[in-house]
Amino acid sequence: MSAGTARAPADALTPRTPLARVAGWGRSDRGAQAASVLTALVFWQLIGMRYERIPTPAEVAEFFWSQASSGVLWAAFANTLDGFFVGLAIALVVGIALGLALGLSNAVRSFLNDIVVVGLAVPGVIWALLAILWFGFSFKAPVAAVAMTATPFIAVQVAQGVRGTSRELMRMSTAFGVPWHKRIRHLVLPSVMDYVFAGFRFAVIMGWNAVLLAEWFGGRAGVGFQTRTWYDANNFTGFVSWVLFFIVFIVLLDRLVLERVARRTFRWRAQATPTTRGGA
């Protein structure tokens, strides 16, 4: 994903016979990545053939197809996403508010910092189990598990961003009597955006973990519940397929969506830098 187009220097010198072209491509970064995926698949196939319990890639693909065409896959996925997004939304609102308070006021920071640190150290599985005991086997449990796991991460990042905001500008806007809500909107928020984003990206991974754990231990539906069901049924093809499904989802979400959005959102920065430097 990073530097895909770079070629080995030898590539430019060798005559462009097809074989040489293949060899050159094999030496490039993209060739290395392809080799990496290929090794993983071959390794998986061999393990699947060697051990009875572990399914081969073909068996998993077949199972996926049956789940997708019968609609089970999409129903469970929608159910999980529902709880996941509601929990993340709560975490974002509470986390940003908490982070702003922690970053802007020294008093609030002394008052609450230890409790946020404790929140960071509690593993998702404890939040998930507590959420089930507190909210029962309902929709609320996964939502609460996601919100409780993700909030401290967003709060800490936002607080760090606020503390990095230019003190000069803060002091000037105080001196010129800019009201506090305008100060937050025009000065603090733009400068904490990438911290919010970093916190959010981390919260997405943590939250996905928490929602699956809550569904595994106390769900009636969803991806985590399906994984649990196939595990309890001792059907490893079904189990491995569902596990792969939730891994692939989070990897794609992180690499393809969040990384790209981050690049788009902060596009202005690369262009803005030379101008300011030229002006100064």
């Binding site: 290395a32 990496s36 599985v125 507190w134």
Partner: protein, 276 residues
């Protein structure tokens, strides 16, 4: 703080010191007030707002913690969890060190391992827990494997970054004086890389400790995660909270004191700005 501008330098210094002491005292008071408010709200909530079974009072949880300490359960299960975590780190170093050295010395291998390493470091902990459950069932090896898999990417990436900064002059001189590859590995590469292995362990410690506990919740017959699961199976919120606090206290103590002190020792020979 700037109220003493007009007075002499000595008075100003004393004022500033007093102000600093006052500030620190106020901060300490706020920290204490924060904890008291938290505990007060918790007690109030469990007495008046919800069923005490759903949320036991802090006193009840403290009592539970004392029971866990006095019966020796704490020591026994911490021992198991720690043992599994350290063996897991050993395995992670054994796998991550060669991968990191390949990534740090060859562009092709860097591209080859880039995707698997970033994916392995970024997927949710439940993946490792269920993976360990499938491969080993209820076992000692499961949590060890989970710790190894989650911390290996951090070690590999740090070692690769460490090799980027290796002293090229020293390498060239070693070649010029005809040192064997094994000598170079032993006297140049390994000493350069060791602190970075440690940095990887330190960075992934909290994560590995959490994943170890998750794996024990899924399938184990001892360790902290097993006791958390045990409390959950008995619907004991007090038990879960008690173990949770031990868990958190351990992470905080480990990060604040042990790992930071050890890192300072290991990096003592280097100039200060490289450490940070």
């Amino acid at each position: 703080m700037s109220g003493a501008v007009a007075s002499g330098p000595r008075v100003e210094g004393r004022d500033r010191r007093e102000a600093a002491i006052g500030r620190r005292a106020r901060q300490a008071a706020l920290v204490v007030a924060g904890w008291l408010a938290f505990l007060g709200f918790w007690t109030y909530a469990s007495n008046n707002l919800v069923n005490p079974f759903i949320l036991p009072t802090p006193a009840k949880v403290l009592d539970e913690m004392w029971t866990i300490v006095s019966t020796g359960e704490l020591f026994e299960h911490f021992q198991w969890s720690l043992m599994k975590t350290f063996v897991g780190f050993g395995l992670a170093v054994a796998i991550g060190l060669p991968i990191g050295m390949l990534m740090g010395t060859s562009r092709w291998w860097r591209a080859y391992f880039h995707m698997p390493v970033t994916i392995a470091g970024n997927i949710p902990g439940i993946t490792y827990a269920v993976l360990a459950l499938v491969i080993f069932g209820i076992s000692l090896e499961g949590p060890i494997l989970a710790v190894a898999l989650i911390s290996m990417p951090y070690i590999a990436i740090n070692v690769a970054a460490g090799l980027d900064g290796i002293d090229r002059g020293l390498l060239q001189m070693s070649h010029a004086f005809g040192r064997s590859g094994r000598d170079i590995l032993r006297h140049v590469l390994i000493p350069t890389v060791i602190p970075f292995v440690f940095a990887g362990v330190r960075l992934s410690f909290a994560l590995a400790w959490k994943v170890e506990a998750i794996t024990e919740v899924f399938g184990s017959s001892n360790g902290i995660g097993y006791m958390i699961r045990h409390s959950y199976d008995q619907f004991s919120v007090a038990g879960i909270l008690a173990w949770m606090f031990f868990f958190v206290i351990f992470i905080v103590l480990m990060e604040r004191f042990v790992l930071q002190a050890a890192e300072r020792r290991l990096f003592r020979w280097r100039p200060a700005e490289v450490t940070s």
